[in-house]
C-alpha cells in the first residue's frame, strides 16, 4: 500500500513540478494556488505512506534507498510548507517543488519490495541520528533556495535591468532573513546528527567509521560552521553569505547522493 500511496503523492507533486516549469518559462507566477493545494495533499499521502512502510518493516523506514529518498522528499515538503506558512513567499515553490518531485520520483525508481535490514543498522541510534540529519538537510535546502532568490534579486538590482522575476521575488531583506533562520535551524540539527553518528559508531565499533559519507558530511559541516562564523563575527550578509550557503548545500547533495558511489557503511541497500 505504501508504494501506491507514494505514487499518488508523486502524481500530486507533479502538479507542483509543472507549476515550477511553467513559471520559469513564462517568467510569471502560474498555477500557484492549485499547485500548493496538490503538494499539500500529496504531503499527507506521503506521510501516510511512510508510516505504513514503518509498520510493515517494524522499523524506521530509512535503511533502503527507496525509503531514504521518500523520507527526504517528505521532509523537503515539510520544510517548504513551514517556510511558506511563516513568510508567504510563493517563489520559494519554484525551487522546492522540483526537488520534492525529483526526490519522490527517485524513491519510486529505487523501490525494492524486500524488507531486510542489515543487522549493523539495527540500533536505536537510527531513530535519533537519521531524522536529525535529514531535518537538518531540509532546513539547509530552504537556506539554499533563499540564497538563490537573493542572488537573482541582487543581480537585478545591481545591474539595474529588471528581469521579469524581479516583480514577484521577495525583497533582499526577507531572502537574507529566511536564509539566516533556516541556517540557524539546520546547523544545530546536522551538528547533533554528526555527534549522534559518532556516538553510534563508537557504540558499535569503538572507533569512527571510515566511510566516504562521514568524511563528506564533516566537510559540509565545516562549510556551514564557517558561514555561521562569518555571519556572527564578521557581519557577513547578503551576497557572500548566499554564495557560501550554496557551496554548503552542494556539499549536502554530494554527501547525500554522491557518497553512495564511494562505498562504505552509508551505502543504501
Amino acid at each position: 500500500m505504501h508504494v501506491a500511496l507514494l505514487r499518488l503523492a508523486l502524481g500530486l507533486y507533479s502538479v507542483g513540478f509543472a507549476h515550477s516549469v511553467l513559471t520559469a518559462l513564462q517568467k510569471k507566477q502560474t498555477l500557484f494556488r492549485p499547485a500548493l493545494a496538490c503538494v499539500s495533499a500529496g504531503f499527507v499521502l506521503h506521510v501516510v505512506s511512510i508510516i505504513s512502510r514503518a509498520m510493515e518493516v517494524r522499523y524506521l523506514p530509512l535503511t533502503q534507498q527507496y525509503e531514504a529518498f521518500s523520507f527526504f522528499g517528505a521532509l523537503a515538503t515539510l520544510g517548504f510548507l513551514i517556510a511558506y506558512a511563516k513568510y508567504r513567499i510563493a517563489p520559494l515553490s519554484i525551487f522546492a517543488f522540483p526537488l520534492i518531485f525529483i526526490m519522490t520520483f527517485v524513491a519510486n525508481l529505487f523501490y525494492d519490495p524486500s524488507a531486510s535490514i542489515p543487522s549493523v543498522l539495527r540500533s536505536n541510534w537510527i531513530y535519533i541520528h537519521t531524522p536529525l540529519v535529514f531535518l537538518g538537510y531540509a532546513a539547509l535546502f530552504i537556506a539554499f533556495a533563499a540564497a538563490i532568490m537573493y542572488l537573482i534579486q541582487e543581480h537585478a538590482l545591481k545591474s539595474k535591468h529588471a528581469v521579469r522575476f524581479y516583480h514577484w521575488l521577495p525583497s533582499l531583506e526577507i531572502c537574507d532573513d529566511l536564509a539566516y533562520r533556516a541556517l540557524a535551524i539546520g546547523f544545530p540539527l546536522i551538528t547533533l546528527g554528526i555527534i549522534t553518528g559518532a556516538l553510534w559508531a563508537q557504540a558499535v565499533w569503538g572507533v569512527w567509521a571510515r566511510d566516504a559519507k562521514v568524511l563528506f558530511s564533516f566537510l559540509t559541516w565545516l562549510v556551514y560552521l564557517l558561514l555561521i562564523f562569518y555571519r556572527l563575527i564578521a557581519g557577513w550578509r547578503g551576497r557572500k553569505a548566499a554564495y557560501l550557503s550554496i557551496v554548503g548545500f552542494i556539499g549536502v547533495l554530494v554527501t547525500f547522493l554522491g557518497a553512495n558511489y564511494f562505498g562504505g557503511l552509508h551505502t543504501f541497500q
Binding site: L157, K158, H161, Y166, H167, P170, L172, R237
Partner: protein
C-alpha cells in the same frame, strides 16, 4: 437600450479645446438636468476630467448631444466638431469599459481615472439622471476595470521617478516601516521622493543642507531631524535610504565614505538615490557589497522597462475588454429582444381574439368543427406573418446594430419598451 457617447479627449483635442468644454461640479448637475429634459434623452452622465469630457446617454440620436454640448458652452459647432467623437451602442460600451479600465488614459494604467468615473456616476445618480440602462452599464464597467486591474499587471509597476524609488526600496528592504531616510540637499524631486517613502512606511527622516536653516525647515515638514552638513556622514550609518540632490559640482559621497558607512552598519543594505545633476555620489558606490546606487538615468531606465511591461499588459487587458463587451451586449440585447418577442406575440394574439369576439354572432351558426377551423386558420395566419420578424429579432440579439432595429420594430408594431 440605445446608448450614445459623445466626447473629446487628449487624443483628439488640445487642451485649449478641452478646457472650453469642461464642466465644473455645479455646471455638471445643471447640464445633466437640462440634457435629460430634452426629447429622446432619457438617461445621462457626464465625465469631465483634465484629459477628457464625455457625455454618455441613453438616446438614439448623438447629434442631439453634440448640439447640447455646443449650446451649453456657447461654442460654435465648427470649432469643436472635428475634435468630437460619437460612438453608439457596442462601440460606446467598449469605450466606457476602456476608459474605466484606464486603457484610454494618457498614462495607460494610471489608477485615478476609475475614481473619476465613479465620481461622475455618483453625481449623475444624485442628480437623478441615471436609470436602469446607465446603472447596468456603469456597474459592469467598474467590475471590468477591477478585473483588468487584478488579472493584468497594467497598473502594477511604478512609472514616475519617485514611485520607482519606492518600488526599488521595497525590493531591497521589503517592509519600509522602521527604516530611516536621509535627504541631502533640497530639491522638489528629492522632497517628493521622501514624501512617497514616508507614506509607504519609512519612520524617520534626517535632513541635511549646506544652509542649516533650510534643513531645519524641511525637517519640520517631515517631522524629522536636521543634521549639520559638515558632519552629515557621521549620522549616515543610521540611514537605510539616502536621497541626494545637492547643487554641488563634485561628489558629496565618495566611495571610501560609503564603504566606511556600510562597514559601520555591519553590512546592512543601503539604498542610495542620486537625483542630482551633476551627480552627488561616486557611481562606483554601486560596486560595494550591500550598497545599491541609482542615479536619475537608472531610475528612468526602470520606468522605461516598466512602461514596456505595461504596454504588453495593456494588450492582454484589451482581450479582456473584448470578451466583456461581447458578453454585455449579448446580455442587454437578449434582455430587450425576448420581451419584445413576447409582446409582439401577445399583441397579435389579442387582435386575433378581439376580432373573433367581435364577429361572434356571425360565427355562432357554425358547427364546432367549423369554429375550430376558424380558430386554427386565424392562428396560423398570425403565426406565418410573425415568423420572419421573430426570427429576425432573435438574430438581432447578436448584431451590433441590433438595438436600432429592435427599436424600429417596436415602433412599427407599437410595442412599449420593457421596464
Amino acid at each position: 437600450m440605445q446608448l450614445a457617447l459623445v466626447g473629446l479627449s487628449h487624443k483628439t483635442a488640445p487642451v485649449e479645446v478641452r478646457e472650453r468644454l469642461a464642466f465644473n461640479n455645479d455646471a455638471l448637475r445643471l447640464a445633466l438636468k437640462s440634457l435629460v429634459g430634452r426629447q429622446d434623452v432619457t438617461e445621462a452622465m457626464i465625465l469631465s476630467t483634465c484629459n477628457r469630457v464625455e457625455v454618455v446617454a441613453e438616446s438614439s440620436d448623438d447629434r442631439l448631444i453634440r448640439e447640447f454640448l455646443c449650446d451649453f458652452h456657447q461654442i460654435s459647432p465648427d470649432d469643436v466638431s472635428k475634435h468630437l467623437y460619437s460612438l453608439r451602442n457596442a462601440d460606446a460600451i467598449r469605450h466606457v469599459f476602456r476608459v474605466a479600465a484606464s486603457l484610454d488614459s494618457m498614462m495607460v494604467g494610471e489608477p485615478q481615472i476609475l475614481g473619476q468615473v465613479k465620481e461622475a456616476y455618483r453625481i449623475a445618480a444624485d442628480t437623478g439622471t441615471v436609470g436602469m440602462h446607465l446603472s447596468a452599464l456603469m456597474n459592469r464597467a467598474f467590475a471590468v476595470a477591477k478585473k483588468v486591474r487584478s488579472e493584468t499587471g497594467i497598473s502594477q509597476s511604478a512609472v514616475s521617478i519617485s514611485y520607482a524609488a519606492v518600488e526599488l526600496a521595497r525590493k531591497i528592504f521589503g517592509d519600509l516601516s522602521g527604516k530611516t531616510v536621509m535627504i541631502i540637499g533640497a530639491s522638489k524631486m528629492g522632497e517628493l521622493t521622501a514624501k512617497h517613502l514616508k507614506r509607504n512606511g519609512v519612520s524617520s527622516v534626517l535632513v541635511t543642507n549646506r544652509t542649516f536653516e533650510h534643513a531645519v525647515e524641511l525637517a519640520q515638514v517631515f517631522e524629522g531631524a536636521a543634521v549639520s552638513f559638515e558632519h552629515f556622514t557621521d549620522h549616515m550609518d543610521r540611514a537605510d535610504i539616502v536621497i541626494s540632490s545637492t547643487g554641488a559640482p563634485h561628489f558629496v559621497i565618495s566611495r571610501a565614505v560609503a564603504e566606511q558607512i556600510i562597514h559601520r552598519r555591519k553590512n546592512r543594505s543601503m539604498f542610495f538615490i542620486d537625483i542630482a545633476v551633476p551627480r552627488d555620489i561616486d557611481p562606483t558606490v554601486n560596486e560595494i557589497d550591500n550598497a545599491f546606487l541609482y542615479d536619475i538615468d537608472d531610475l528612468q531606465q526602470v520606468i522605461d522597462e516598466n512602461l514596456k511591461e505595461r504596454m504588453k499588459e495593456a494588450s492582454r487587458a484589451e482581450e479582456i475588454i473584448d470578451s466583456e463587451v461581447q458578453a454585455f451586449c449579448l446580455k442587454i440585447q437578449s434582455r430587450e429582444v425576448v420581451p419584445t418577442i413576447v409582446q409582439l406575440r401577445d399583441n397579435v394574439e389579442k387582435i386575433r381574439r378581439d376580432e373573433i369576439e367581435r364577429n361572434r354572432r356571425y360565427l355562432k351558426d357554425l358547427s364546432p368543427e367549423q369554429q375550430a377551423a376558424v380558430d386554427h386558420i386565424t392562428k396560423s395566419f398570425a403565426n406565418k406573418i410573425l415568423h420572419t420578424p421573430i426570427e429576425e429579432l432573435k438574430r438581432m440579439a447578436h448584431d451590433p446594430d441590433g438595438p436600432h432595429y429592435v427599436d424600429i420594430l417596436r415602433r412599427i408594431f407599437n410595442i412599449k419598451p420593457p421596464q
